[in-house]
Symmetry: C4
Subunit: 235 residues, 4 copies
């Protein structure tokens, strides 16, 4: 533990890597929600380890609970027409855990909340006095609609110096209610906002569009391109 | 429909993917305005599907109408001198559709409005009380100048909690007038601003410049480079 | 001219591409200051046209004068130790031209002003009431020091709705004084700020650092890496 | 010196490259803290010099002292499960030096301070009146805990026009105390904030996640992907 701790230039004893906890060590391999659906045979393999699942959550560990944020990219599918469209939407995955001892958190009873692009939009525009709340029903439109309810709230501290980030999960099927509340400093929230702003175009899939053409069609058919009238006016 | 809906962690019944609509399904292949001019033989093909047209619009579906945003990259052409210059300017393409039923939108009668870099500049600096309006004439400088007029306006809600995004198209050639108005929440507008800020350097083509040299000329001719005086003072 | 003009969805007759002007056409090849020192044999050539010089200035054409902005990347050199260091600093190159007729600008008598990273820092933090001024002496530290003086000023309009961007060049060697002043709208300035913020890490060379390791050292020597103590505490 | 100086379009005699100093020249090779652990055999080598250590610090040289900022990327390690996790955290490395003469700084007695992601979050949200202070103990959790104390403070100038950036290092083992204080202009601080905001997702390792999937798994198994239910609801 010593060795790892020395790698963490942290000014506060409250900040510790999940990996520090010996009880968690074996489960780090499970901590791969962010890229759980990537395959081992993708085309970037030749460039090194980029074909592997990468786990780099931003984690905030506090006395009673912890949560982490990690971008979860969209998946795409190719239509018969050759067009690639979004299959599953991207999100920022939040994972909450209860503290179960000194620097120990309960990975088994973790709860998830996936922020959509628009919910990320709410988060990144919050001012110091603003609050927001999101409601998710994982069984929406199924026969179990309304049986599980999740709500995430972000509320400012009384002194405007940070926020409380809280998740409540009510599961009527299991007859359980689970709550987490994590105080977040202004600095930690700034990291969340900057990282989420960075990730937003990626979870929307826009990076796929902007990367695509930039090495591609340049001048291959300049004549044809010249003949293209403004797209706006076409049907 | 059930399966797809469960993939959408949405807190509101108003948000639905275009793909959910069975009547739209067959037309998703047409929904490729953003990359309609990329070719199938570009040099990124070896890296996977990046050679295909990618469609990842940010869509806002409301009761009476919907619109989507998608970056439309510039095209380039190579001059005899070897310099690559912008051929057709990039834009953020907006597509508006009328609602024609429960979660159904009329793709056939869609209208387009392509935001230029400077118009994107207006959008991303709007404060909660600001409004803006853009006028386009697709036939500008042709014999039909003034026959078709498009205006896009973005106006704040009375309570400063979001905006109305409206498009009006007056076509004197067809003797038609078409109007769309879509209420946009603060969170949705934040996504629009962040995504447009991300896309702006790409629609300007600046990503081509910054990507170019960064893996390129480094130290190939250090001596020559050292002799280069400050570019500013050269003619 | 018609064809090109129809490609420009511009709401104002003041915005026109340099390429529209027939008198400029032949000189577009000269308009390559931004990447004038890239070589034709760089390693990206296999990816398409990225080895060529790319010109994609953001240009603001007004009645009496015009200017354009374009990122000018740093060059690097490799030391005997194997470390790559910055050789010539990056900048945002501004080029000013006088109007010499309807939509014609005088490329021959253009003047340049290269914004350093810190000057870009001034520009991107300007509020609507702020102004700034930069002074350059191209002959600084030579025997001609003080003979040529360039000053760039950015001053807000009286109504806070945009800025005047002005360049003055006093050349005592040639006994000349040249002045340009271009009114810039709030939207145009927003494009300048967003594009310059995007370009800033690139002209600093930080993109070279962040791109480098991200496909590189991952896990090649996990044991060794684990033994590395915090860099901060090393000498 | 003349030649190099002419490459610096600086408006102030206070800004000078480290490389200008002949006494530093031979030590530039040591100035590679930012990428000191990259290997010479990484997979990007074929693309040019990107396999080499790149040094591109943002340096602020003032009369009594100087400091530089440079991103220090995280290192990763691959678990047996195939998942790649962060091994050593990334940071923004600050290096302080005392002035020891006209444009000369003492590289031998430099002191380091590595800003964590959360400390970067503090820096990038600072308003013109805000201040912050960070404390590091390099020997934290070892038998030498408390023997060396480093504190970095950023405090606004009395006139709100910039900041003082100060580092104090108290070493009880060597019985020394070392202090540096560097005045920073608003423009220089804007560069620091913009560059740190750019670097933040990279030092968190999020760029590894967003780069990964974007050329990868697209549509390789569209059927399988379609069957994947929302990650949020899975255990």
């Amino acid at each position: 533990m010593l060795k790892l701790s020395r790698m963490l230039p942290s000014s506060s004893s409250r900040h510790h890597l999940l990996e520090v906890l010996s009880s968690r060590k074996a489960q780090v391999g499970d901590f791969t929600y962010s890229t759980g659906f990537s395959t081992a045979t993708n085309n970037y393999a030749a460039k090194g380890y980029t074909s592997d699942r990468v786990s780099a959550p931003y984690s905030i560990y506090k006395g009673k609970a912890a949560f982490s944020l990690s971008p979860c990219l969209p998946t795409f599918t190719k239509l018969d027409s050759g067009t690639v469209v979004v299959d599953r939407r991207g999100s920022i995955m939040m994972i909450f855990m209860h503290a179960i001892g000194e620097r120990k958190y309960d990975w088994e009873k973790r709860q998830r909340f996936a922020l959509s692009a628009t919910e990320v939009g709410s988060l990144i525009t919050m001012g110091p006095q603003d609050s927001c709340e999101f409601f998710h029903d994982p069984s929406m439109l199924s026969s179990n609609a309304g049986q599980v309810r999740k709500s995430l709230s972000i509320k400012p501290h009384a002194n405007s110096n940070g926020y409380f980030v809280s998740l409540t999960v009510v599961n009527n099927l299991l007859n359980t209610k689970d709550s987490f509340s994590v105080p977040v400093t202004t600095a930690e929230f700034a990291v969340m906002k900057t990282a989420c702003s960075f990730a937003l175009p990626h979870i929307m899939g826009w990076d796929r569009i902007t990367n695509q053409q930039s090495g591609g069609t340049v001048g291959l058919q300049p004549k044809l391109a010249s003949q293209v009238l403004d797209l706006e006016w076409e049907k």
